[in-house]
Amino acid sequence: MRCIYALLKCYFCVLCFFFTLPLYAQVVNLDSVVVIGKRHPNVVELKSLNNITINTENSKQLPSILGNNDLIFISKLLPGTATNNNLDGGIYVRGGETSHNNIILNNATIYNPFHLFGFFSTFNTEHIESVTITKNAIEGKYGNRLIGAFDFSTPQSKCKDFHYNVKVGLIDGQFHVSGPISDQSSIYFSARKSYIPTVFINASGFKYNFDDYNLTVVNEPDSTNKLIWNVYTGSDNLVFPDVHSGLNLKLDWNNLVSSLIWQKKLKNSTLEQTLYYSGYMDKNELSQFQSLARCKFSINDIGYKIAYCYNKDNVNWQIGDDFISHHTEIHNPLLVDYLNVGIRDNSNLFQNTFENAIYGNYIWHINNSLRINSGLRYCFYQQGNFRSHNAEPRIGIEYKLNPSEKINLSYSHHYQYTMEISLSQISLPINYWTGANKNFLPQNSHLFSIDYIKKWDNFDLNVSTFYNIFNNIKEKELNILDLLSENIAITDGVYNGNRKCYGFELLFRYNYSKFSGWLSYTYSHSTDKFKNINNGFSFPSPHNRTHNLNVIGIYNLSKKTDISFNLVCATGLPYTAPTNIYMLNENVVYDFGKYNGSKLPIYERLDFSVNYKLSAKQHHSSYLNLSIFNMLNHRNPIAIGYKARYHEENKSLSVFKTYKDYYRIIPSISYTYNF
């Protein structure tokens, strides 16, 4: 019944959308004189569903959240990337966890790309040119992770004039400047800072602040050489008191990333070298009642990448090397003033690990219809006496059925030696990254996919089926009271397991002169198997949504006004539900059933946005953005429980279900001024 209802609603959404489409199309005909043949710019460009690029400039028409058009937020409207629950900013691609994607900014890894429970990523849209999402990476340059990469690029070329951008939103302000500093060089600088304590979470004592700074310098001494220097730093401070459980969190985390890229154009080839530093640190203080635990973690990477690409006629190949030195510092929780335990073992773990991968790719143009992209990445890894080296073969076969239709078959094998262990099921930075060793075996994955692509004038259809196998993935089972009261090491209770995920993705894009958007649908089935969890039986993966539908529309209402919406409808996430409720010590307590055996209610959300140009002159422009997140105020709970109340007057007990959702409708307004 529930599924039928959900399907009916999905059908209704789609019907609603397409029913309104012809009405808008009618308007298009009337305005055709004004917009002669000009198509709406695409937000998303794609080679296949394994390789999607989001253009920052075009994405500004989509509904923003709290005045920010976040690229990671937009990526979750695409097939294969699951919708998140409230408070969870994680990126879950084709059954993988957030840490299974390499989040890269100008070739340097960013370990924690989230602000405020994922409302924004650390990537300031004004400073990012595009992001390319790779789900089944054939290219050898994408490694060290089980799935693929979110590859963010800052501007890569010089600019002629100075350009300023100021944006004022409800909780943060942004400033961006770009301009030439010499004939050969340009500078890009962006700053973003929150200035008002967030008001939408109804919890007294809640405090949150973040800031971001980006600097990019592009230097082109001649037509064959280019240097790009990029620095990003960002920090967050969160105080989160949960009055219901008495749990107080104080979290501080920050990223510092810097990369220097040298691109040299040679005859029919390019050579690119990158030297980078990537640092991430989090400091946490967790307290509940009289117990207080402090945790600290840091990782510092120094890396060097070199890639040589040869392209001439039908001969394309690439070779490269990718070296990373990780230095991690993992502190066991320091128990402060807890009364049962005298002194916790406060020994810290220091790790120095090295990864070096050599790779090559060769594209075989068999004939006009058939192209084979083959690749091999070979990685060497060392941490102390623990050494590992593995080959990662990859192959992609592309067959053109006709000029507008093609089929892709892809397979890739990946190893991940540096892995994230998280203490929270949502993407709070209460986690640490550790290198592989005899206790933490390297994770590996096998990714298979078949893609079909068909293009028409105003539409294109992309369909993909995938089957992913993940081995040695990690799950930490630790409840917060243990952390606060037991003398345990942070590395205890980490289990090794396997995951299998298969599914089907569909992306249908439409682009009329005034109306554009897409419809994406994902069917996904993902199961985990851990020896120590659920008695060794397989169970649904925690972030798997069986059905995930997104409908996105952008409409140019007039020269000054754009409206857009995105509708999200997804199956609820799995959770472990109580099967029996009983009373003990004057409390309601549960007996839980099958691990992840139930599903939360269907996730539904409609976001709406209006962009209104206040002025558009030659040297300056300004516009106003009004966005409403979850316009229909739909309740999307992240936890379900029970409460009981005793009524003295009639000696009766009422038991009622409780739904925990921290926020619903969030309206926001922002003003942008460009000059």
Partner: protein, 281 residues
């Protein structure tokens, strides 16, 4: 404009939803909660589990099982406990008359109702003595209370701190995180934080610290490993059961065989204090 209105109308229609109940509750089970204090008779609450629906109202009489056979034995004598009215929630419990708690004895409880039989044993240890209690101001009137005791054989023992607010509580309740595993301690002088117990049905007060001026009676009792595991899992499950940041879905480790619940033997001498900032008693 008509198109936009039409679109909005469709959205309003879309926003209509039907309530969805996700939790399927299995058949009800017997739940036993019993204790025997030193020099007192045993008290046992026998109830059954409650159906989890959107909202349900039940009279207490319908939750408590009134016709169970509850038998208590101390190894030499046994008695059948009778269901009587009581001053403590849920106001109906099974009470003994002749067998009273004594140190060094094992008490066996068996409960039967139709085909269901449940049983458990507990051992009553010698009295543990509290050395001192220290109060410290942590809020406007909230007090952080530390209880000190000394035990040279702490390494293999488990302890539980019980507390009663004089004037309002009719019995002792286990304090939040008042369970101590001796293997975690590093010296014979042990300090335990004292908080109220969690009673979210009868006491809606979410402040778990005591206030200045509260009169308390505190007891420290040694318990067996089974009881320690029960109270540890009980507080873990109760405190963080709906916490979305660190969700807990562990099942409480019952000390009973054939039923959910706990059967406990509590010894320990009462230590009475009046909470006052900076005061050591």
């Amino acid at each position: 404009m008509k198109n936009i209105l039409f679109f909005i109308l469709l959205l309003v229609l879309y926003s209509c939803s039907v309530p969805i109940d996700e939790i399927k509750v299995s058949n009800s089970d017997i739940v036993v909660e019993g204790w025997i204090d030193k020099d007192s008779v045993a008290e046992v609450i026998v109830s059954h589990s409650i159906l989890g629906t959107e909202r349900s109202e039940s009279s207490i009489d319908s939750i408590i099982i009134l016709d169970a056979d509850v038998l208590l034995s101390d190894g030499t004598q046994s008695e059948k406990l009778t269901c009587t009215k009581s001053d403590i929630y849920p106001y109906l419990l099974y009470k003994g008359e002749k067998i009273k708690g004594m140190s060094g004895k094992t008490y066996s409880l068996s409960v039967s109702k139709n085909d269901i039989k449940a049983s458990s044993n507990c051992y009553m240890y010698d009295d543990m003595l509290i050395d001192s209690v220290l109060c410290k101001n942590v809020g406007e009137s909230n007090q952080s209370i530390s209880v000190y005791f000394t035990d040279n054989n702490y390494a293999n023992r488990y302890y539980l701190l019980l507390v009663k607010l004089i004037g309002s509580d009719y019995r002792f309740y286990p304090a939040i995180m008042g369970y101590v595993n001796g293997t975690q301690c590093i010296s014979p002088i042990i300090r335990v934080g004292l908080l109220k117990s969690i009673r979210n049905v009868t006491n809606q007060n979410e402040n778990f610290e005591f206030n200045e001026g509260d009169s308390l009676s505190i007891r420290l009792t040694e318990i067996d490993e089974k009881n320690y595991c029960f109270w540890k899992s009980f507080f873990t499950a109760t405190i963080n059961k709906s916490d979305p940041l660190f969700p807990t879905n562990i099942n409480i480790e019952s000390t009973m065989t054939g039923a959910m619940g706990v059967w406990s033997c509590y010894s320990g001498k009462e230590f009475n204090i009046k909470v006052k900032n900076g005061k050591t008693m």
